[in-house]
């Protein structure tokens, strides 16, 4: 029988706001 494709792993995504926080903190860290 045809091999059923492996179920895909759900990648958890941060929300837009969380991404914004991440990017701001990265900018603050980098000189």
């Amino acid at each position: 029988g045809t091999q059923r494709p492996r179920p895909r792993v759900l990648l958890k995504a941060p929300t837009l706001a969380e991404m914004e926080e991440m990017s701001t903190s990265e900018e603050e860290e980098s000189p």
Binding site: P5, R6, P7, R8, V9, L10, L11, K12, A13, P14, T15, L16, M19, E20, M22, S23
Partner: protein, 394 residues
């Protein structure tokens, strides 16, 4: 004998490999420093396809960290560009188009049957193998809404200064001035004259410009329709609010001019195949107000005619316009109080909204219907001008 080793070109499978350390250059060259003009003549939404092919290779190598990092830096990069160009209609359209296209790709190639009904067999080979990016699709949808709202804000900022003079004050119908109530300010018909008044052509010219940019950037047709529905709603609201507040424009001749202007806008919509946007329907209150200015206002039959016609105006709005109505000349009587009482009596069963003015800032909810692409990934190649030579076609 010279043996030539014929290196068989491995078929390009529509994936793009890059080293982790090149991600910053990828985002800089493909997102933050990219100018839409650089891609004129290439396939619309090329950045979205390139980003999808990079995501696909990271998925193919089962590298979840790389997928997370690429999507997060892409989204942050787009937000950064939009913040920097928050008054640029073309740039905002460009990224709305690409963000929606990336969202469509993540659906079309998700492996979910519901999104694959229009895929070719070859496209089905290009689906993601390891990861379910449903949550990132939601983030891209939220980002698309933010970009759409910025686009509307820019467009409204360009249109708003034109509306009152173009819709109410500029007289493009020759001879109307003879029938204007006294004290009326005459306007010239140039696009913009000295004291910053506009004619209807200025609005139509601006609408043409919006439509051309959105088509050139490959924005989904359904989104273009929603943009114009929103802009026409604003024209309706700003114009009607002025009618409800200004005695000098509540006259028979303004009704005539308004009906002419609205018919010109309707004709423009039809000419650009945009009439199914619902834009004309959003102008119904203004259309009825223009007719009200021209209807007779004396007998009970006149009152019945007004009540049956003005279904999109509230009782308050009808009464206000009748109170402000300025007769054409000394031969025409002012609207009598008893006539207004008759109108109020006939409309007393309506449960109207209480506020007189329309909220011209009202935003209709925006929808991004799934719009799969017929392009196959292996047919897309990267132009040299993008300086992405570190991407390796796989």
């Amino acid at each position: 004998r010279q043996v030539t080793v014929q290196r068989k070109e491995k078929d390009f499978q529509g994936m793009l490999e890059y080293h982790k350390e090149d991600e910053a250059a990828l985002i800089r060259n493909l997102v933050t420093d990219l100018k839409p003009q650089m891609l004129s003549g290439t396939v619309p939404c090329l950045p979205a396809y390139i980003l999808y092919m990079c995501i696909r290779h990271a998925d193919y190598t089962n590298d979840d960290l790389k997928v997370h990092s690429l999507l997060t830096s892409t989204i942050n990069g787009i937000k950064k560009v939009l913040k920097k160009h928050n008054d640029d209609f073309e740039m905002t359209t460009f990224w709305l188009s690409n963000t929606c296209r990336l969202l469509h790709c993540l659906k079309q190639y998700s492996g979910d049957e519901g999104f694959m009904t229009q895929n070719t067999a070859k496209q089905n080979e290009h689906c993601l193998k390891n990861f379910d990016l449903t949550e990132y699709r939601q983030v891209l949808s939220d980002l698309s809404i933010q970009i759409y709202q910025q686009l509307i804000k820019i467009a409204e900022g360009l249109l708003q200064p034109m509306i009152v003079s173009a819709m109410l004050e500029n007289e493009s119908i020759q001879g109307l001035s003879g029938v204007k109530p006294t004290g009326y300010r005459k306007r010239s018909s140039s696009m913009v004259d000295g004291d910053n008044s506009y004619c209807l052509e200025a609005i139509i010219h601006q609408m043409n410009s919006f439509h051309t940019v959105m088509c050139d950037q490959g924005l989904d047709p359904e989104i273009i329709l929603q943009v114009f529905k929103q802009l026409f709603y604003m024209i309706n609201a700003v114009t009607l609010n002025n009618l409800l507040l200004r005695k000098d424009v509540c006259s028979w001749s303004t009704g005539m001019q308004l009906r002419y202007n609205i018919s010109q806008l309707e004709e423009w919509l039809r000419g650009r195949n945009l009439h199914q946007s619902g834009a004309v329907q959003t102008m119904e209150p203004l259309i009825q107000a223009a007719q009200l200015l021209q209807l007779k206002k004396k007998t009970r039959e006149d009152a019945e005619a007004i009540c049956s016609l003005c279904t999109s105006l509230s009782t308050q709005q009808i009464v206000k316009i009748l109170n402000l109505y300025t007769p054409l000349n000394e031969f025409e009587e002012r609207v009598t109080v008893s006539f207004i009482r008759t109108i109020q009596a006939q409309l007393q069963d309506r449960n109207d909204p209480q506020q007189l003015l329309l909220d011209f800032k009202h935003m209709f909810p925006v929808l991004f219907p799934f719009n799969p692409s017929s392009l196959t990934m292996d047919s897309i190649h990267i132009p040299a001008c993008l300086n992405l030579e570190f991407l390796n076609e796989v």
